[in-house]
Amino acid sequence: MIKAEWFFWLVGAVFLVMAAQMLRDRTNPKRVGSAAFWGLIGAGFVYSSWVVEKRAPAEPLGVAVLTMAALAGFGFTGRGEVRTTSTEERVRSAARLGNRLFIPALTIPVVAMVCAVGVKELSIGGEPILQKGSETILGLGIGAVVALGVGMVLLRERRLSTPVHAGRSMLEAMGWAMLLPQLLATLGSIFSVAGVGTEVGELTTKALPEDSRYLAVIAYCVGMALFTMIMGNAFAAFPVMTAAIGWPVLVEQMNGDPAAVLAIGMLAGFCGTLATPMAANFNIVPAALLELKDQYGPIKAQLPTAAVLLGCNIVIMALVAF
């Protein structure tokens, strides 16, 4: 059986190899800090396996996570020069390869889909080939590995270090933003452990009249959007609002279909992401990249759409979830 943890080790190993490359990259003025940041992520990925199985304490990993946040937060990470091809080389290569270039890129989703839908049902000697419940994660991993193989054959690339260097450059370009979704998810889980969800839930149930399904749906969807605007990320708002209203009221009390309630609730949160400067990587960074005078330009373009879609989500959830 192929286990999900093996794949997490592979991702951790890739981070560790990239960290080693960063340490040796003298074009990066902050190479030690960068290597430490990505090295800790890589080591954390591997160590997490034992934390998940409760065979190792979680506290050292917590120290590592806060160290990563400090390393990136106080500006100890940086990026080196990108080793890549010139524009002319790329234009010539694109002209020669044409649309074949899209084949490896499309391999990833195709393999992921095949694993999630097809291979999932297969088993050898009574044991499923892919670990149960992790078929999609494994599909993505297998897809990426297969695509890398296909790409290297197609492009006649012999050295594995070339794609690893290319991937590392993209990682360095993303920098701390890469860790933010995972940290925001962590914050969301701390909020739920500390009882923020229960507090918000008590406040809303006090305000909500009994057995009012539609008001509860509105409260969950609008709450997701508002909380996402505050937290800057639907991932962080989701555990809190779901613990407050989504699960106890909509799923347990009113027998809503959990898949529909939670999927549409997350999308209601995305309406909030469109409308907040705190979702910096989607709204403020593009404004800077596009050299806009008004840094809220993208948000202004998105606001009417976000408002209408929030209404759509409320209507869809009320129609299909019960």
Binding site: L66, I108, G133, Q182, V196, F235
Partner: protein
């Protein structure tokens, strides 16, 4: 009520533009301690949170392939492919990009687009070019508007396309959180199916607004650009 102070930390942190990682770290520590956790338990919460949310970061495994393909001109080829639609108006072009972005995100190709990869080098210049062909030189306000809508097409397409794909972060986050917290078993496939109605609404709503952009540009800025020409013909007559 006092644990809600953690939410306040996040709001103040972002309002004063601190680094988001620091804000989130401090907010987590404050909330945990106020919620009655010991310092050890707070550290354990960070550790457990990182361990159980690893799925959000696994897309990094695709970076070497994408990086390799970009070295060999993936972006240039994408440009050539999209270049065949160069005769479209600004609104139609952006609506088409919205649809393309949504479909590719739904296939899991979330990093094919993005503000740095496609919007700045590709989408915004093409959208501006289309407007210039129609209205002549653009005033700065029109340029800002077109660029803002280019960024919006990318965001809307990504957000409401990606959840239709199974292995995307938010779907994995939902199943991860719910399956561990409430001891149930949700299938990513079911969640992805319920994302389809909203995806259709997003395409209709934002697509319609992008198509209307042509008329708006005409009304707000078109006259300014065509007026000198009209004056010239009147003067000649």
């Amino acid at each position: 009520m006092i644990v809600l102070l953690g939410v306040l930390v996040v709001v103040i942190g972002f309002a004063t533009r601190r680094n988001p990682l620091l804000v989130v770290g401090v907010a987590g520590i404050v909330t945990g301690l106020l919620g009655g956790l010991s310092p050890r338990e707070v550290l354990a919460a960070f550790g457990n949170g990182f361990a159980s949310s690893r799925a959000v970061t696994i897309f990094a495994i695709t970076l070497p392939v994408i990086g390799l393909l970009e070295r060999h001109g993936l972006q240039e080829q994408a440009r050539t492919l999209i270049g065949r639609f160069a005769k479209l108006t600004t609104g139609r072009f952006l609506a088409l990009y919205l649809a393309l972005r949504q479909v590719t995100a739904a296939l899991g190709l979330v990093s094919v687009g993005g503000p740095a990869q496609t919007v700045r080098p590709l989408v915004a210049p093409m959208a501006e070019g289309a407007a210039e062909r129609r209205h002549g030189p653009l005033p700065d306000k029109a340029r800002e508007k077109i660029r803002s809508f280019s960024a919006s097409a990318d965001n809307v397409g990504l957000f409401f396309g990606e959840d239709v794909f199974l292995a995307v972060g938010s779907i994995l986050l939902i199943t991860g959180f719910v399956n561990t917290t409430y001891q149930t078993h949700l299938e990513p496939l079911h969640l992805a199916l319920w994302a389809i109605p909203t995806a259709v609404c997003a395409l209709a709503v934002h697509g319609w607004r992008l198509l209307r952009l042509d008329r708006q540009l005409e009304q707000e800025f078109g006259r300014g650009a065509t007026a000198p020409g009209r004056d010239a013909t009147e003067a000649a007559a």
